[in-house]
Symmetry: C2
Subunit: 186 residues, 2 copies
């Protein structure tokens, strides 16, 4: 798939997920894409916990908000962790979060390219996730996402609707030229 | 370009930049890609300041570390800003940084896809950048990057070398299966 197609098609969907297992070579392609993201001083703070057992997924989902319970249908949940000390902090900005974002976007686009569905989850009981997955104290849970094949054909309609209803600020609202507050040739 | 090719080819290079102006439709494609990134509750905290005048670029570059002065050669610098209050903060994790990372990775991949060069800069005098670009107090400067055509043919050799020398942790070092500390089928 073309880069721009993946960027435009990527959307968060937690419904119409197939239980079909995901081939491990696809999972590895996706993790490899995440791994290739840049990071401050190449510190690569990202860590991934993959949860595949149905029982383990059910347990993990108890730490997610009610609105995200549909992700139990997925054959795989990926939990993205990082710790502040594995990255730089500049003027109070902890770049482990920024760098995790770079890697996660690669992960999301790679999944989209391979026809897989993701959904960004950041409403969760972090302490519970850490307890369940035995994540060391100093690591932070940044995000979780299901990774699933779409349940066809119902998924297609949901994705079409999701993309149609997608709202983003206009470029004019988020872009400044030369100095803050100056419009430009958009 | 295929998504995986863009992910694999993207690298930070600040040398061998052409002064050739970048067509505004390409700039807009790249900003549009950034804009399509997901964010917590779709809050879209990212803001972009584009600096194109040679004199303005020279002034901005005075706020960058010595190691990044080569980016003065670029025809365009993009400064990415965001503020914490435009996003959620969970358990002390300010997601404006994570979400900025998602958008920036889209920007980097879109640029790569269009044959353009980027370089992540986060070593700078933030106060100076804010003063020069008149960025409001509450916004943070997260990153700057040049956007440039490569100066052919010398760029190709530099990029080849850069990719060849790239080091990333093995998947086994960053991936856990089922629980933290457990190896898997990688």
């Amino acid at each position: 798939m073309e880069t721009f197609e993946a960027i435009r098609k990527r959307c968060s969907l937690k419904t119409h997920l197939s239980k079909r297992a995901i081939e491990s070579d696809k999972v590895n392609l996706i993790l490899d894409a995440a791994r290739l993201a840049p990071s401050a001083s190449n510190m690569q703070p990202w860590r991934f916990v993959l949860v595949q057992e149905e029982k383990a997924i059910d347990e993990l989902a108890t730490a997610f908000n009610e609105t995200n319970q549909e992700v139990r249908e997925a054959p795989l949940l990926i939990v993205i962790c990082a710790r502040e000390e594995d990255d730089v902090t500049r003027n109070g900005k902890p770049y482990y979060l920024f760098d995790a974002g770079l890697a996660v976007e690669n992960l999301l686009l790679a999944a989209t390219d391979l026809g897989l569905v993701t959904h960004l989850i950041l409403s969760f009981d972090e302490g519970e996730i850490k307890r369940i997955l035995e994540i060391p104290d100093e690591y932070r849970v940044v995000l979780a996402t299901p990774l699933a094949y779409p349940a066809e054909p119902s998924y297609d309609e949901a994705a079409k609707e999701r993309l149609r209803d997608r709202t983003r600020k206009d470029l004019g609202e988020i872009t400044h030229y030369g100095k803050w507050g100056s419009g430009g040739p958009v």
